[in-house]
């Protein structure tokens, strides 16, 4: 790792001051992606602003939504009684990210801000009509993810929390990459009354996306069988040495079927 400066502010406003005091600073949340990148010397920030002291790790039931602080570790979400009760699928998703040690450190905000095309959380954000609250605004999920590793966030914007809309029913099923255990395909299905949202991660070249055709099929008939007629197009799907776009297309359908129970 190149040399860098470590800073640990106590509030988001201090964190913003800190990042602005640096030429090319980076926010450090759980560090599960950032630190391995720095170790490989694939980035050279002049400073790291650790936001774990900014009091961003509460989890609260706010009626229609569950609001989760950005610094909530995956393990906290997985084990949260509040989340388990209101959106068990979200707890299940968190329980399946990485391994135990990654879950003990990795955070919701870090994952969502990074928007790795194979990360699990973005699918929940998108399917659960979440609002991403930053230090300056709230961004609706549909506007938040703008491409592979790209989001609507500005350089000096911090996610403070995310509000997930409580669904009538939801489920997340993932097919992990056998080596990295990242999602090769992950499907989050959420039902809100008559409306169904299906968000797919791990598969799209532009990162997480909603699958409109399956959404409309499931909206009229919420059953795995109804998906049989859906043709998943492999255009725009990731193809790598682990899985072709064609195979990913198959997995999208299959994981969605398994998520619809």
């Amino acid at each position: 790792m190149y040399s860098t400066k470590y800073m640990k502010p106590n509030s988001t406003s201090e964190a913003l001051d800190a990042i602005n005091s640096l030429g090319e600073g980076k926010f450090l949340a759980g560090g599960m992606t950032l630190i391995p990148t720095l170790k490989q010397r694939l980035a050279n920030p002049d400073g790291l602003v650790d936001i774990s002291g900014c009091d961003l790790d509460s989890i609260a039931d706010e009626g229609e939504t569950i609001k989760i602080g950005a610094m909530s570790r995956h393990v906290s979400v997985a084990e949260s009684a509040v989340v388990k009760k209101a959106i068990p699928a979200l707890a299940k998703l968190a329980e399946g990210i990485g391994d135990r040690q990654v879950r003990n450190r990795g955070t919701l905000g870090g994952s969502v801000a990074n928007n790795d095309p194979s990360a699990c959380y973005p699918s929940a954000v998108l399917a659960l009509k979440a609002n991403v609250h930053t230090n300056s605004r709230s961004i609706a999920a549909d506007d938040f993810f703008t491409g592979m590793f790209e989001t609507a966030l500005e350089e000096d914007e911090i996610i403070e929390s995310i509000s997930f809309l409580k669904p009538t029913k939801a489920n997340y099923v993932k097919f992990p990459n056998p080596a990295s255990r990242y999602a090769m395909v992950g499907v989050f299905v959420a039902q809100f009354g008559d409306e169904v949202r299906v968000a797919v991660t791990g598969a799209g070249e532009g990162g997480v996306f909603r699958h409109q055709e399956m959404e409309s099929v499931l909206s009229s008939n919420f059953s795995a069988d109804s998906l049989s007629s859906v043709n998943i197009v492999s255009d725009g799907l990731i193809s790598d040495l682990h899985a072709s776009a064609e195979y990913r297309a198959n997995l999208i359908k299959e994981m969605t079927k398994r998520a619809v129970v």
């Binding site: 990148t37 490989q40 694939l42 920030p45 990074n114 194979s118 592979m148 590793f149 193809s239 790598d240």
Partner: protein, 152 residues
């Protein structure tokens, strides 16, 4: 790995061809291009700061033009060294076909990309998506510039 796409532009082939050889146009099209200097008729020195997720690496290298067939197309190749990250190169065969009836030009491209070193060793899952994205960004902003310029 092959990446293909095409755009239809409401412009003459000559106009598009001129833009394809215009340094400013190219500079504004190359994603994250920080520096572009002409070295010869067919070669430009380039510096690009590539950001993919948490990775952020400066590539220095060149843009070369070959198989030049005015005004029908050429091959534009960008290759650069990213220090510890390794090296990357991408080559796009660009073809221009004019449709006399609609007086528009179809710009089509076919890209092949190659990476070396650490980015290949650690980032293989992202190579194809990244190459596609960069090609799209390049031709997307190239086309957009042309379109914007021709707006009344």
């Amino acid at each position: 790995m092959e990446i293909k796409d095409s755009y239809e532009l409401p412009l003459s082939k000559e106009r598009v061809w001129a833009a394809l050889n215009d340094e400013e146009f190219l500079k504004n099209s190359i994603p994250w291009c920080e520096k572009l200097e002409r070295r010869s008729e067919t070669e430009l020195a380039a510096e690009v700061k590539l950001k993919i997720g948490p990775m952020s690496t400066r590539f220095t290298g060149s843009i070369t033009l070959s198989d030049i067939d005015p005004p029908n197309g050429y091959t534009i190749t960008g290759s650069g060294k990213g220090g510890i990250a390794g090296a990357a190169s991408g080559s796009a065969k660009v073809k221009l076909v004019e449709d006399k009836d609609t007086s528009s030009t179809i710009l089509s491209y076919e890209v092949s990309a190659q990476v070396k070193g650490k980015i290949a060793q650690l980032g293989s899952r992202l190579i194809q998506s990244t190459a596609k994205k960069l090609s799209k960004n390049f031709f997307g902003s190239f086309v957009k510039q042309l379109e914007d310029m021709d707006k009344p």
